[in-house]
């Protein structure tokens, strides 16, 4: 009966009958101490988010379903207000094949400071400039296990546009990005069907992935334009592209070596980019339980300065403290330094658990000596402090 109800799409009935419910609700305060570069940008903001997840399984765990939503209420930056489906998925395990149909979020790659090969999901940019929060992507996905490696075949029938701050938002470009006017190279626009393939395998201490993607570039170009009121705006333009990527990670004792490299071909540009680096961990420093990791990563982008990514010839220097205490306290601090113009940005992220169900996060981001030609110039006054308290259930 329950299954029958599910088949008729009465999701909430299913959800209550066979689901496990988990997630978190969070309050986030953001403070920008410097006055804004552009008119109307806010100085401080208090927002709330809710991330519920329902999931369940049947058929002895060979069939699974999940639904994960992400909602944010923001009364200052409408660009951050949303309800997004991060996951709405059926997953079927059939021998060495795994089928996934629906909306999913996935992660490819190994590098900490940048994500080059991770092109399946669109970035939820307003949730973090590090690109680690992503929008749900509709897909048909077959994962096939072979003795010689794992193959992923993906068909992506629908494209998600990147999110951008509105006029009042911080960490935005000098002109507002008008997401209502997005343009596409393909006449199919967001209905263009994209394809991706990935091979991955572990060889002792080496993890290797090789991936291919053909379809709508998740990173937009920007065209000058006018909005409905005749104000100048930026119009995102989504090209078609083809990309081949490699990601590799090698572990040797306390060393972890990492590499991501891509070749991307599109109408506007054909180029190579890579990030390579290492992490070395000192375990139990000064006879405490604390582990200290040191990270060094270098990013190169083959495009000219004004076309390239923010990290085009940049060094990332990071430290990671894992206190291994009851509260799982962690601090990650990193410097990004542009080797051409010495523009620097600094970021600290610290978090710990409070009691059994709360988690507090503190983020500090500063931009220093930003060269006026640097892609970060628009963020020069956007140093910020962020405090988040989340309740997990």
């Amino acid at each position: 009966m329950r299954l029958a109800l599910c088949a008729f799409g009465l999701l909430l009935v299913c959800a209550n009958a066979m689901a496990e419910f988990s997630g978190n609700v969070a309050a986030e305060a953001q403070i920008f101490p410097e006055s804004p570069q552009f008119d109307d940008q806010f100085d401080e903001n208090l927002t709330f988010s809710f991330k519920p997840k329902w999931d369940g399984e049947w058929n002895d765990g060979d069939d699974l379903w999940s639904l994960e939503l992400f909602m944010r209420a923001d009364n200052k930056d409408a660009g951050r207000e949303k309800v997004d489906i991060r996951e709405a998925l059926w997953l079927g395990v059939r021998g060495d094949n795994e089928w996934r149909v629906g909306i999913n979020t996935m992660f490819w790659g190994v590098i900490e400071s940048k994500h080059l090969v991770d092109v399946i999901n669109q970035i939820d940019y307003v949730e973090g400039i590090d690109g680690e929060e992503k929008l749900g992507q509709p897909m048909l996905h077959l994962k096939r296990y072979q003795d010689w490696g794992v193959l992923d075949f993906l068909v992506l029938p629908y494209f998600r546009e990147r999110t951008f701050p509105e006029k009042e938002g911080r960490l935005r470009l000098p002109l507002v990005v008008d997401t209502d006017k997005a343009e596409y190279e393909s006449s199919d626009e967001e209905r263009h069907v994209d394809y991706a393939l990935r091979f991955s395998q572990t060889y002792d201490d080496l993890d290797l992935g090789i991936s291919w993607f053909k379809g709508t570039n998740r990173d937009p170009l920007f065209l000058p334009g006018l909005d409905g009121d005749g104000e100048p705006v930026l119009i995102p333009f989504y090209e078609q592209m083809q990309q081949i990527g490699v990601d590799a990670q090698l572990i040797y004792e306390a060393w972890i070596w990492r590499l991501e490299a891509i070749r991307r071909e599109a109408d506007s540009n054909d180029y190579n980019a890579y990030t390579a680096g290492f992490e070395y961990t000192f375990y139990g420093i000064m006879e405490s339980p604390t582990d200290l990791g040191l990270l060094l990563e270098y990013s190169y982008d083959g495009r000219s300065k004004d076309e390239a990514d923010v990290l085009d010839d940049d060094v990332f220097l990071g430290t990671r403290f894992a206190f291994n205490d009851e509260q799982s306290s962690e601090i990650l601090a990193g410097f990004y330094i542009d080797t051409n113009n010495q523009s620097r940005s600094f970021r600290v992220e610290a978090n710990r658990r409070f009691g059994a169900s709360w988690k507090g996060t503190l983020e500090l981001q500063t931009f220093a000596d930003i060269d006026s030609d640097d892609r970060l110039a628009a963020f020069a006054n956007d140093d910020f402090l962020l405090l988040e308290m989340a309740y997990y259930f």
């Binding site: 978190n24 060495d96 572990i251 375990y283 799982s328 169900s357 709360w358 259930f393």
Partner: protein, 261 residues
């Protein structure tokens, strides 16, 4: 002349002793091998673990972890830990392929990033989830991970125990030695003392509430690890043990970490 003859005579009488009498090291190794052999053939098991951390002030916090372990012939076990509590780490999973003296292979699935991350397994002496158990205390106990020395037999509760010293043979252990009380019938690890790098007593483990499974394998219901230097302790309560559940290598692939529930 006389001297050499005398030596020959000594050698003649001494050699049988060299052949038949066991050194304390040999006897210790023999016990470790017997304990290992006794536990072989369990194939796989699943269990639920409640971990209660207690600090010096007596404040407690708890973790809920589901464990799945697959026996691998000729190598260390494969094991999967699924974290259910605290809520902020719910859905975190840790996969370990242990290999005797070679470093283990270890992966972590981070649900917030939906990312499977290969991690360095060198951190054997570090605390597990902020508890008084180190990773090396909970890992698969292969014979070659230690050298041994037999100390004595003595009564341990209702049983008789072999008392043996174990010296970690792998690099990066947090201990210089351990003293283990292993009962002579079912090879139950009843008690263990852990000595730190400065050779001072660091921790004592007491296991109890043993139950026998499949008519052969003994598993403790409780394991209490007291750290004498910090005053902290951690109680592990093992529940719902099931053996030969039909787990296979397929259930221990890093690529499936994300979907496993």
């Amino acid at each position: 002349m006389f001297n050499s003859k005398f030596l020959l005579v000594i050698a003649f009488f001494a050699s049988p002793a060299l052949v038949f009498a066991q050194s304390a090291e040999e006897k210790g190794l023999e016990i470790a091998k017997a304990a290992d052999a006794y536990d072989q053939g369990f194939t796989d098991f699943t269990a639920n673990m409640v971990m209660t951390l207690k600090n010096k002030k007596g404040e407690t916090s708890s973790r809920l972890i589901r464990i799945r372990t697959l026996e691998v012939e000729g190598d260390g076990d494969k094991s999967l830990s699924i974290f259910d509590e605290p809520a902020d780490v719910k859905g975190t999973k840790m996969l370990t392929y242990s290999h005797g003296l070679e470093p283990d292979d270890q992966w972590l699935y981070l649900p917030a990033l939906k990312k499977v991350k290969r991690i360095s397994s060198r951190n054997k002496s570090g605390p597990f989830m902020g508890s008084t158990f180190a990773y090396e205390d909970l890992g698969s106990q292969e014979v070659e991970k230690y050298t041994y020395r037999y100390l004595r037999d003595e009564a341990c509760g209702e049983w008789t125990c072999h008392v043996i010293e174990r010296f970690p043979a792998y690099k990066f252990s947090g201990y210089t030695r351990q003293i283990a009380w292993i009962d002579t019938e079912g090879y139950r690890l009843v008690r263990a003392e852990f000595y730190d790098r400065k050779k001072a007593l660091l921790k004592t483990l007491t296991a109890g509430d043993f139950k026998q499974y499949l008519g052969h394998y003994w598993r403790p219901g409780t394991m209490d690890m007291v750290n004498h230097q910090t005053g902290k302790s951690t109680l592990l309560e093992w529940k719902d043990y099931e053996f030969k559940t039909g787990l296979t290598e397929r259930d221990f692939r890093s690529q499936t970490l994300k979907r496993i529930k």
